[in-house]
């Protein structure tokens, strides 16, 4: 057999997460789930570092609080809450699907084929509607109350 000259070069890498080609919505939800998860972890570590400044005394604590009291950090906080809501709701969806709810059972396949992905899609839409409602409530609470 001819030796494969290009090893691993054609693997998509993280580009493969973002550019998903023309697949269904679930593949994009998967990508957002990863990004929102990473965002929440990043926020958690920043949050722990920032709040730990309290041990160095009142003055440093007040100074660090003033540092983050800017619109850009407020917007960042908004994104964290949005990511948290998305991650929680989509995680709940995945929890049910991984326990085999809404995906159907194996069956004899006739063309045109039906898939588990299509069968669970109404559940995806329901999750997205819930997400939208919670995002609206959160935005109102965040900026207007």
């Amino acid at each position: 057999m001819r030796e494969t000259l290009i090893k691993q070069r054609y693997r998509l890498g993280t580009k493969g997460w973002f550019y998903a080609g023309r697949y269904g919505i679930e593949r994009y939800l998967y990508i957002f789930h990863r990004i929102s998860g990473l965002g929440i972890i990043l926020y958690l570590s920043l949050h722990i570092i920032l709040t730990s400044t309290r041990i160095f005394g009142q003055g440093i604590w007040v100074a660090s609080m003033e540092m983050v009291d800017k619109p850009i950090f407020k917007f960042g906080e908004y994104l964290v809450v949005a990511a948290f809501i998305y991650h929680a709701l989509n995680g709940l969806r995945l929890f049910f699907i991984e326990l085999s709810f809404f995906i159907g059972k194996p069956s004899r396949q006739d063309y045109p084929y039906t898939t588990s992905v299509k069968r669970q899609r109404p559940f995806v839409y329901l999750t997205m509607i819930a997400l939208l409602c919670l995002l609206v409530i959160m935005s109102v609470d965040f900026y207007f109350i």
Binding site: R2, T4, L5, I6, K7, Q8, R9, Y10, R11, L12, G13, T14, K15, G16, W17, A20, G21, R22, Y23, G24, E26, R27, L29, Y30, I31, H33, L94, I97, E98, L99, S100, I103, G104, P106, S107, R108, Q109, Y111, Y113, T114, T115, S116, V117
Partner: protein, 263 residues
Amino acid sequence: MPLLTFKIQRFDPEKDKEPYMQEFTFEVEKGLTILDCLNYIKENLDATLSYRASCRMGICGSCAMLINDYPRLACETQVLVLGKTLIEIKPLPNYPLVKDLIVDLTPLFAKHRAVKPYVIHPDERQPEKEFIQTNQEQTKYLQFAYCLKCGICLAACPTVATADNFLGPQALAQAYRYNSDTRDNGLKDREKIIDSSYGLWRCHMAGACAEACPKGVDPALAIQLMKKETILGKKKNIAPLALPLVGVEPRPGIPKAPERTVK
């Protein structure tokens, strides 16, 4: 007849440093598949074009490629059904590239082999009679038995894009296919391989494998069902062996079967 342009990725490891795109424009008629068009190019326009194809009817799984940003079998894709005048053809992603549209499917077969994709008998002896399996029992795995090993699901999977060690939808679906077979008793053997961080639990239901599969195998379904079975435990009946026929008289005129030649 409509005039179509085919933009095809070319790469010859002996000449080229990087893959590049080459265009071919010609008239096509209704009913032609992508594979027919590739054959036309090879026979009339550029004989150096390399691609893998065999049965030309969606049985062998050789001609899987990325057609207009979606992995498909070239032999099952009607060129006019795509509805575009520009058709871009690339090799399947997530595999090492060999030449032009040919990728090295060795990772796919290695993963497939890793899950022991064969019936492991309940005891070490070879069965003397056939297993009795009902239609309902067969339906539990039949869908997954249609896998062609074309490699499309691994090309579609976003996890495979970054995790080489992930077993992937094809191998996991085959693990479920044999685990669900009542003739098989290899559940414990396979569990060690699939119930691992690079096995079952690396799948996060992106669903692309199920959507792209040209045979409706639905690996995503198999993987989710297997997750549930791994969490909650699986109860499985082993198919009984057929009883020897007693008191059956052959119809008159039917000759007696010859003696067994293999003991």
